[in-house]
Amino acid sequence: MSLIDSVMAGLALVGNWEAFLSLAIGVVIGVVGGAIPGISATMAVALALPFTFPMQPINGILLLLGVYKGGIFGGSIPAILIKTPGTPASSATILDGHPMAERGEAGRALGMALWASCTADFVSNLALIFFAGFLASFALSFGPPEFFALILFSLTIIAGVSGESLLRGALSALLGLLLATIGLDLVYGTNRFTFGDPNLMGGLNFIAVLIGLFAIPEVINMVWHPTGHMGKVQKLGSKWVTFAEYKRCFRSIIRGSFIGVFLGSIPGIGAAPAAFLSYSEARRKSPNKANFGKGEIEGVAASEAGNNGVAGATLIPLLALGVPGDVITAIIIGAFMVHGLQPGPMMFVLNVDIIYGLFIGLILSSGILFVVGGLAIRGFRPVADIPKRILMPMVLVLCIYGVFAVNNNIFDVGVMFVMGWVGFVMSRYHIPAAPFLIAFILGPLLEDNFRQSMLMSGGSPDILLRGPITWFFWTLTVIAIVAITRGTMRAAQSEG
C-alpha cells in the first residue's frame, strides 16, 4: 500500500465527528485532570481508560491520547498559579512561572505555557510521523551503559537550576540522591533505611516528595509571615503574551521540543527530566541568564516545550516496538490490547489504517489543545483572585486529598508534611529545591543502570565505554563539567 493509500485509509477512520469529539473530550478531561494536583496526567489516563472499552478502537485511543496531551499542559496551570505542579512534568515550569504570577503576570505566563506546549506538541507529532522507525531502532540500542552515560550527563543540568550558588545546588542534589536510596535494594532486595516499615520499602512516593517540596513550604511560609504577601498583588493580570515574545522564545521552544522528542523516544526517562534539561539549555543560551528563576518568560516557554515534546515522542517506542516509555503509555498499551491490537512492527503492516488514523488525529490534537487550553486558562482565572490566606488552607486540603489519591496511602500524606518542613528549612538557608528534585528522579536511575552494567560485564568498568553512544554522552559530560568549572572560577575571580 502506498503512502497516499495509507493516509486515505487513515482519513476514512478519523474523518468523522465521533473521532473529533472523542479527541476533544479527551483533551478537556486531561487539562482539567492535569490542573488538579494529585490527579495528574497519569491518573487522568487511568481513570478514562475503562470508559474507552466500549468505543471504536481508534476513538478510544484518540481519547486517551487527548487526555495525555491535555494533562501534560494542564499541570502547568497550578504550577504557575499556586506553585503546586499538577503533574510531575510541570515542576520545571514553577521556577519561572510562579515568580511571574507573584508579579501579577500569571496570564502572560499561562499564555506562553500554552503557546509553547502547542508548538512542542506539533513538533513532537511530526517527529513521530516521520522518524518513528528510525528513532525506535535507535532507542533499542540503549542498554544500561548507554543509560548510565545519558543520566550522568543529565545530572549536569543541576548546575543550570542551582541559582546563585553551585555548592548549595550540589548539596541540595545530594540530599535528593540520599533520600532516593530509601527502599529495597535493586540487586539484592535488602532493606535500605526502611526500619522494617512496609510503607518505606517501596521508597518515598515521588508525588508526595514533589508536592511536599514545592507547595507545603509556601503554606508554612505563610504561617511564619502571614502578612508577607501584602503589597505583592497576585492577579492574573491584564497583560497577555504577545507574538513578539513568542518569536523571541521561538528558538528555546524548538530546542526544547527536540530535547523532548529525543528523551521521549527512549523508554524510561519521562517528561520531567526533559523539561529541566530544556530549561537549563535555554538558560545557558539566553542573553539574560540572570533573570532565570526570577520570572523570565523564556524559562516557562522552555520548560513547557520540553515536557510537551515528550508527549508525542513516547508513542514512538510504543507504536514501533510495543515498549511503553513511561507509566502513561503503559496504560495506553492496555487500551490497544483490549481492542485486540498489538503495538509493534507488525502493526504497521496489519493495522496501517489505525496507525495513520492516529497520526492524523494527533496532528489535530495540537490545534484542539490550543483552543481548550485557552478556555481553561480563563476558567481557572478566579484562582488568582482568591485572598492568599484563604487560598493557602485550600492548597493544604487539596494537597492532602491529591497525595492520598496517588497511591491510596495515608502514609504518603505524612511524607508530604515532612518534606514540607525540609523544603521550608531549605528555603530559609537559600538551598534551591529544583536540584533536589532532579537528583531524586535521576539518582535511582543512575545507580540502577550502573549496577546493571556491572552485572552485565561481571564487574569490569570497560562496559561503560562500550560504544559510540556512550562515548558521545561521556564527551558531553566532560564538556559540561569543564564549562561549569570555568564559569564558577570566573564568577569567583570577578567577585574576589
Partner: protein
C-alpha cells in the same frame, strides 16, 4: 550562614558514614564485587556530602561578611516561631486523627485551624470554604475519580 550549612553537611555526612549506613542498610554476606554492594552508593553519597560541606565552609570563610543572601525579616520572630510550632502540631494532629475521623472531617478542622493561625481577614468566608472545599473534593475524588477516601469510624458520607 554558609559556614553553618557546611558544618551541618559535614556532621550529617559523618553520621551517615559512621552510624547510619552500617546500621540501617543491610547487605548480604555473599556480595562478590564491592561495586555491586547495596552499601557502595550510599557511602559514595556520604563522602560527596562531606566534600561539599568542606567546600562550603572554605568558600564561606573566604567571603565572610557579605555576599550571603539574607532572609526577609519579620516583625514578630518570637510569635512566628510559636506559629511554626503550632503548624507542626497541626500537621501531626491531622496525620494521626485522619484514620479515625476520616479525611473529610479532618481537613475541615485543619482548614479552620490554619485560617485562624494565619489570622485571616475573612473569617466568615474561611468558615464557609472550610466546609465546602473538603466536601466538594470528597464528592469529586470518591464519586468521579473512584478513590476510596478514608471515611473514619464516626460519620460516613454516602
Amino acid at each position: 550562614m554558609q559556614v553553618q550549612l557546611g558544618i551541618g553537611a559535614i556532621i550529617g555526612a559523618l553520621f551517615l558514614i559512621l552510624y547510619a549506613i552500617p546500621y540501617w542498610v543491610s547487605s548480604p554476606s555473599n556480595v562478590r564485587n564491592i561495586v555491586l554492594s547495596p552499601l557502595f552508593w550510599p557511602y559514595i553519597l556520604g563522602g560527596l556530602t562531606a566534600l561539599i560541606g568542606l567546600a562550603l565552609v572554605l568558600t564561606g570563610r573566604q567571603r565572610l561578611g557579605g555576599g550571603d543572601p539574607v532572609n526577609e525579616p519579620i516583625d514578630d520572630p518570637r510569635q512566628g516561631m510559636m506559629r511554626l510550632a503550632a503548624m507542626a502540631v497541626l500537621m501531626m494532629a491531622t496525620f494521626w486523627v485522619m484514620p479515625w475521623l476520616g479525611m473529610v472531617w479532618t481537613s475541615m478542622l485543619a482548614f479552620v485551624a490554619l485560617a485562624f493561625l494565619v489570622k485571616t481577614r475573612h473569617p466568615a468566608t474561611a468558615f464557609i470554604c472550610a466546609i465546602v472545599v473538603p466536601l466538594v473534593l470528597y464528592a469529586f475524588f470518591a464519586h468521579v475519580a473512584s478513590v476510596a477516601i478514608p471515611q473514619g469510624e464516626l460519620v460516613r458520607l454516602p
